[in-house]
């Protein structure tokens, strides 16, 4: 067990947590916007959102992450940072992978939110319209608040999947948990099984409380009907 202290375990998991945090916020916003477009009265927005969700959801995340690095950064020169010191590449790769996670996870958030919109009784929207609210008002004031409360549980499983998916950032060299695990297993030979168990435990610790907490929250905030 001694060799574990030679490595920055907490640091690696901290990067994982940061990746998850920024991606989760971005994906939630992007997912809700996409869901709004998918139920909107404007035909073109519906078509765009449907096409986007179907295409991106069926693309491997690894491809998106690789494309954000090779395509956006190395070929097109989109660097996402104004930093010019030596850490610029690390910052760029971190932000590019967050971008890829947002684009990808947003589709799953959108699907979850859309299913939540379907749980809101038709009468609610009809009542809102009878009061003279427009589509945007009906959606944001009446329907979405109820829809979001009913999809906390599906969103929790999207968040847990996202947490695990952040390991894909290792494909473009973001120094998160999977990168450290690989280095440690390589260095420690057959003690590698122990290393694997430590990292496995790390992810259980990261995902289990989230699942339990959001499971409890989904019971608490659900609109009782």
């Amino acid at each position: 067990m001694d060799f574990l202290s030679n490595y920055d375990l907490l640091g690696a998991f901290w990067v994982t947590v940061q990746l998850t945090f920024w991606s989760a916020i971005g994906a939630l916003v992007w997912g809700v916007v996409l869901a709004g477009m998918r139920v909107s009265p404007v035909w073109l927005m519906r078509a765009f959102a449907t096409a986007y969700v179907n295409v991106v959801r069926n693309t491997p995340l690894t491809l998106l992450v690789v494309a954000s690095s090779l395509g956006l950064y190395q070929t097109l020169g989109v660097s996402l940072t104004t930093d010019t010191t030596t850490s610029a590449i690390d910052i760029t790769n971190f932000r590019l992978s967050v971008l890829a996670f947002i684009l990808y996870t947003g589709t799953f958030v959108s699907e979850a939110v859309r299913s939540g919109i379907n749980t809101v009784p038709v009468g609610q929207a009809e009542a809102a319209r009878a009061l003279g609210l427009g589509f945007f008002q009906t959606l944001t004031i009446v329907v979405l608040p109820q829809a979001l409360r009913s999809v906390v549980a599906p969103l929790a499983s999207v968040l847990i999947a996202l947490t695990k998916n952040t390991t894909v950032a290792s494909a473009i060299g973001v120094a998160e948990a999977a990168v450290l695990m690989r280095t440690m297993i390589e260095n420690e030979g057959q003690a590698g099984t122990l290393v694997f168990l430590v990292f496995a435990l790390g992810f259980v610790i990261l995902t289990l409380p989230v699942g339990l907490l959001l499971g409890w929250l989904s019971q608490k905030v659900a609109v009782k009907r």
């Binding site: 491809l63 690789v66 999207v158 999977a178 099984t193």
Partner: protein, 299 residues
């Protein structure tokens, strides 16, 4: 979305029609601006020249790289799902066991393997094969990728099976016991076949997840699948972006075909469900409808 007005808005009147057209035009302008911006950026870096795209018109690119790559991807995906199915069934049934010493360990294993990222499972399987087996290093990446996928999808499918079996009406197993069948016989001959039929669409759509996850192997284990071809092609022709786009399109097409297949199966299942005589009244509601069953993790 065929003509029928949505819950959220009325069938548009003359004013709303004009407004929607205005929004459409504005959105179109935004989309066109974004497309123009992207195309201009691509054009500036010479990504739109014929030289960049001509490799994909040449049949050699397809027969040498893309089709074999797709073959490896599909091989890994199909192997993984075929092996994960019995594994998932065994663990799903074990979690429903009456014996604590079977139920609890099975539950712990399933929850553990669902919590670990697939990428880590693949990495570890690879090292495991290096240490304890003498599998040839040419084929080791395939073994590692399939093992990682089986461990993860086996545990996801275990939950799918558990839900499928629990969704069957209690009367099914009661009738089987009344006929004098043993627990094992009831499970294997009565419950499992029905559960598999109910869960078949979910199992097929899990194949999409597996196809996407095989791509993990190409970046961390030098598994020579469809995605890994971007290295060879962009090294030969210097056309990174066109290559990634073409490979992405192939993945999307394959996965959409699989999704379509799952939807077709689901329709067929529900048709069969209707034609089978079911007891009317409250007894039939004990079966959980398909829509309420947990879907596999989105990954």
């Amino acid at each position: 979305m065929s003509g029928a007005p949505s819950v959220l808005y009325d069938a548009p009147g003359p004013k709303a029609k004009v407004r929607n057209t205005v929004y459409s035009v504005v959105f179109l302008v935004v989309l066109a601006a974004a497309a123009w911006f992207v195309l201009a950026a691509l054009g500036n870096k010479d990504q739109l020249t014929a030289k960049m795209w001509s490799p994909f018109v040449d049949g050699g690119t397809w027969t040498e790289y893309l089709i074999p790559g797709l073959g490896t991807t599909l091989l890994a995906a199909v192997l993984a799902i075929v092996i994960a199915l019995p594994v998932g069934a065994i663990f799903g049934i074990a979690r429903l066991s009456e014996h604590v010493w079977i139920r609890v360990p099975a539950g712990v294993l399933v929850e553990l393997f669902r919590a670990i990222p697939v990428l880590m499972l693949m990495l570890f399987s690879n090292f495991f094969y290096v240490w304890y087996t003498d599998i040839d290093s040419d084929i080791r990446p395939l073994f590692a990728v399939v093992t990682g996928l089986v461990l993860y999808n086996g545990s996801v499918l275990a939950e799918v099976f558990r839900a499928g079996i629990s969704s069957l009406p209690r009367g099914q197993s009661e009738a089987a016991y009344a006929l004098g069948l043993r627990k094992t016989q009831t499970m294997l001959t009565i419950l499992l076949p029905q559960a598999v039929t109910v869960m078949l669409p979910a199992i097929v759509s899990q194949l999409v997840v597996v196809v996407k996850d095989t791509a993990l192997g190409s970046t961390i284990l030098s598994f020579s699948d469809l995605l890994s071809n971007y290295r060879i092609l962009s090294a030969n022709y210097g056309n990174t972006i066109p290559t990634l786009i073409v490979i992405g399109v192939i993945y999307v097409v394959v996965n959409m075909v699989v999704t379509r297949l799952a939807a077709m199966l689901e329709r067929r299942m529900s048709r069969r469900g209707r034609s089978t005589a079911r007891p009317e009244g409250p007894a039939s509601t004990t079966a959980v409808p398909m829509a309420d069953l947990p879907v596999a993790d989105p990954l």
